[in-house]
């Protein structure tokens, strides 16, 4: 039982690192794209 609990700790740590890292990468890339395109479009209107 003790061994089973320890195994789940490793599984949860690996999933948490991957999910957090992937979501951060997606959010950062999407927001940077939106900001860059907004700046470009504002420059065109001026």
């Amino acid at each position: 039982m003790r061994e089973g609990l320890d195994q789940w700790n490793f599984v949860i740590a690996a999933y948490a690192v991957t999910i957090a890292g992937t979501l951060a990468l997606v959010a950062w890339s999407w927001l940077a794209m939106r900001a860059a395109e907004r700046r470009r479009d504002e420059g065109r209107r001026k």
Partner: protein, 239 residues
């Protein structure tokens, strides 16, 4: 292929394709990870830790796919001078580095219960760590050339030369003695049982869709910044 090198045509496609790839990637990845965490069976020898396979294989695959993208785009940039090829190579660098780091982290977390150690300096792990350093070097080089000026051919040559590490990573477990298992998925078949194989393939598909969406988003950001800077330069010359 030359038709897609036109930035205006690329933007017309990328505007609808980016959210499609990201949303479908999120849906498929979520389904695969829920299956991996809650529905996949435990394995006889590895117990519950086998569930790490559903995130370790996709992240490692994308770490290698990222550098392959850089190498192919660099080749196209050097040979055909496609304007978008260099942008594609730069856009693949950060996501490739991120997935390489995640592959190393998940492998290390898996190694502790499976091998009794977080890290060993064997061929597979060391060549994969070298891949992370190659990414960091490429990002620093491309960034400095963007800021300081210089030939965009330099990072392209670096991207091509660094590709030599990809077959070394792939064959490292057959060339040298290693704690790491041989490849589970090859063109000749799979060493995995069906409940793991289909879940892993779904996770690889989901993460790959996300990876494609992230690369398109980063290409669009680089293009927008380049267009804004070109407009400012034109205005300065006119004024």
């Amino acid at each position: 292929m030359h038709g897609f090198a036109n930035p205006a045509r690329f933007l017309r496609i990328a505007r609808w394709l980016t959210p499609v790839l990201l949303l479908s990637g999120l849906a498929v990845t979520t389904a695969a990870l829920v299956y991996g965490l809650f529905f996949a069976p435990a394995e006889r020898l590895q117990g519950e830790t086998v569930r790490i396979i559903f995130i370790h294989i996709p992240t490692v695959w994308l770490g290698m796919a990222g550098w392959t993208t850089i190498a192919v785009a660099s080749f196209v940039e050097l040979v055909w001078r496609h304007p978008l090829a260099g942008i594609a190579a730069r856009a693949a660098a950060v996501p490739g580095a991120a997935f390489t780091a995640l592959g190393l982290a998940t492998g290390s977390i898996w190694g502790r219960p499976a091998w009794g150690t977080w890290w060993v300096w064997d061929g597979r792990l060391t060549s994969f760590l070298v891949l992370l350093f190659l990414y960091l070097g490429y990002i620093a080089l491309a960034d400095s050339i963007d800021r300081e000026g210089g030939s965009s051919r330099i990072p392209a040559i670096f991207g091509l030369v660094g590709a030599i590490n990809i077959p070394i990573i792939h064959f490292s477990v057959t060339w040298w003695n290693s704690l790491h298992q041989p490849p589970s998925l090859t063109t000749g078949g799979s060493a995995m049982a069906a409940p793991f194989l289909w879940g892993v393939l779904a996770a690889v598909l989901g993460f790959s869709l996300l990876f494609g969406g992230v690369i398109l988003a980063r290409m669009r950001a680089i293009l927008a910044r380049t267009q804004a800077e070109a407009r400012l330069r034109r205005k300065a010359l006119e004024g």
